[in-house]
Symmetry: C2
Subunit: 315 residues, 2 copies
């Protein structure tokens, strides 16, 4: 591989002060907006604390489900600062810090690390397409080099449906090897079970999170770290139960089917508007339904269909 990248950190230099590996259920908390499209921070803090109270090990804030890519850079920093100030421990936060440019990704990553977060989820640079593994390697290496902080724990964020780019298993292995203790995991939103299993089988100890509770049981049996699922916004307790009991030969399958039924009920409606519609119904406020453009809230008919499908699934 032809890699025009700066050298990795020197051996020994990166072995200390790293946060413990994240494991368990880390919902990608949805972000509520007011009528003027500003962030409704109070509603957001309440939601985040509720998720933790209901069993989340931590929160994968500022990812796709959070509409973080529809927030401006300053807002992405502000959300993190204010959430910590509101009482959510930084050690329970895995914010998304991806950006199309190295400079913006470094800014967000450095800021998150300085806040003491457990780790960051890094998208590949998502504007240019048809890029090579060597180009992606150089991007990640440069972000790590510039952030230059031993506390950085980096989880690759794989979501080819949005980015048209996949972190190939070979590239993942190379990054783990060259940045040990820094490149420590991956969230896989591809839904491609073969891809996920390849990572789980090839890299024991690497923290792989499927993005669906439907995949959690099989993934745990194969050594996954946990789950980061959009629908954890709406039934985190069920998913936590499954996570805690995946080795229970009597009950795990039933818990799996219960989780999967809810997930399947939501699937046809588009994750982000659907999750927000469920929260709106549950909290008794239409405000939760609001999305930022280019995303759209579900219309009344779809919302009613969603809610009855979820109810039928016991969610």
């Amino acid at each position: 591989m032809n890699v025009n990248a700066p050298a990795a950190a020197k051996p020994g230099e990166t072995k200390t002060v790293r946060p413990e590996l994240a494991t368990g259920i880390w919902p990608p908390a949805a972000t509520p907006f007011r009528a003027d499209l500003t962030i409704d921070f109070d509603r957001y803090f309440t939601h985040c604390k509720k998720l933790l109270a209901e069993g989340a090990h931590g929160l994968a804030v500022l990812g796709t489900t959070s509409e973080a890519l529809s927030l401006d850079l300053g807002e992405r920093e502000l959300v993190l600062e204010r959430l910590i100030k509101a009482g959510v421990p930084a050690s329970q936060l895995l914010p998304g810090t991806g950006a199309a440019s190295i400079g913006d990704a470094v800014r967000l990553t450095r800021h998150a690390v300085s806040q003491g977060v457990r780790g960051v989820l890094l998208l590949p640079p998502f504007y240019y397409k048809g890029v090579s593994d060597a180009g992606l390697y150089a991007f990640v290496a440069e972000v790590i080099r510039r952030v230059n902080d031993k506390r950085l724990a980096l989880y690759l964020y794989n979501f080819p449906q949005m980015t048209a780019i996949q972190w190939s298993p070979d590239l993942v292995g190379l990054l783990m090897q060259d940045f040990p203790g820094t490149v420590v995991g991956l969230k896989d939103s591809s839904g491609d079970v073969d891809y996920m299993n390849t990572l789980l089988d090839s890299y024991p100890g690497f923290a792989v999170f499927p993005s669906s509770e439907s995949l959690l049981l099989d993934a745990m049996r194969r050594g996954a770290a946990g789950c980061i699922s959009a629908t954890a916004n709406t039934h985190v307790g069920n998913i936590r139960n499954l996570y805690d009991n995946w080795e229970d030969s009597v009950n795990a399958e039933n818990m799996h089917h219960a989780c999967s039924a809810v997930r399947a009920a939501v699937a046809p409606f588009g994750w982000i508007p659907a999750v927000k519609a469920i929260l709106a119904a549950r909290e008794g406020t239409p405000d939760w339904s609001r999305t930022r453009p280019p995303l759209e809230a579900l219309d009344t008919t779809r919302k009613a269909q969603l809610l009855s499908a979820v109810a039928a699934a016991g969610g």
Copy 2:
């Protein structure tokens, strides 16, 4: 169409102080980088001025070819400011100001307009996929509403190969209708001639720019505004000649074939690394070849192949 968007500007309110419509050849100037990946401003200014001296009507700076999406937000503002300070008239600049979020797009657009640019090229929000026309409409409407400046001349930037999103002809028509004098044109990098012709035939007076000099002659005959082509970085004089003489029944076809031959020679090599490799050879410095990750420079073999193909094409 269900459009949750703010109302358009009031009739009459937006009719004045608008910059004249951009027409002609507007190369998307490539951005040179130093070994540490910072922008080589001096080399950049020289290149921009040379393009203008060789016949460009203006410069579509900070677009895809410029690797603008690999610059951070602050750099995108700085490039524009410094270029104007270096003596390139703002009226000859059409910068790209697109971003995934409304907030960042507003920041860049407001800044560009405040600098007095001729107009801006706006990408659709390019992270979320599968978004509707109504969602895209709401995005553009909100950007226009927040920028709130009568000088704003907005050219939609269509590049589905990078964004997986297309400005549909219906949406283009609706935006023109609701924001007259503000949504004034479109750069089409899709290479989809049917799409481009639909816009040209449906919306006379709307400034459509194909992204290839190979399409320029046919497009001019159909009412195009000009051309914004990556390869204009390397042979803008030829393209300007074709533009000036497209109605010349004796010579236009030959000029078209000369332009198309160069374009075809470069095509297999990837536009951005190829354009930079040609500039590197011509200026006698390997520095021009450098790209920012995730893009990669051509290797020596490919570079030699490119240069001989371009020479054979007379470019």
